[in-house]
Symmetry: C2
Subunit: 108 residues, 2 copies
Amino acid sequence: MGTTKTSHFTEDQNRIAKIAKALGHPARVAIIEYLLKVNTCICSDIVDELPLAQSTISQHLKELKSAGLIKGEIEGASICYCIDEKTFQILKSYFSNVVLTVNNQKCC
Amino acid sequence: MGTTKTSHFTEDQNRIAKIAKALGHPARVAIIEYLLKVNTCICSDIVDELPLAQSTISQHLKELKSAGLIKGEIEGASICYCIDEKTFQILKSYFSNVVLTVNNQKCC
DNA sequence: AATATACATCGTAATATTGCGATGTATTAG
DNA sequence: CTAATACATCGCAATATTACGATGTATATT
């Protein structure tokens, strides 16, 4: 027990769940919002920005990257992280669709 | 340790994180999609639909409700659950905004 | 009143997440 | 070559999540 029964759900449901899960932590939301604010790709600045240890930030970045929410590119000694637009587009479409569908139905 | 440092982040970041976290499980995504499909509010049907025990479904519904993603209304002996449009509207707006902001910036 | 239906909650086992310090690896600076 | 900078990864402790069966509570049926 304790393990999510991934295989019982559709690929799409698992995909959305994985992306949502990656955003399911305030630090990771904060990282995304920071990346949006600074326009350009930044990396170790995030460690200065957030009240978390470097190793913790690194872990969060790993999760965001693995969910496709950010991209990272080696730039000399440091790594340039930035928003991965495609995945956010998926979220936008997904929720736009949900709202559209809900609009056409009455609720309890 | 092991606890999220909620207090270090903005209310908004915690709110988005909580909603995203609630969607961060394929079973809960499946529940939302099921509710979208059946148009009307349903309840114990979800137990028949998903390969999970009744107690597990009940827990998932509790999380979805606490995040504001669904509403539940007592209807005799059963409870009528349905999508809470407002929260999905928040998500739609949030991600629309992200996509808009990203569009105006170049990346690595 | 007794039973059935529809949930919610409790207890608990297995596993995952969060966070940190310490350590490892690669690039850059001197 | 050495030291510094910029990360990633490891190992651990604390806590949270997932899932289930068992049990509790409320309404509905007989």
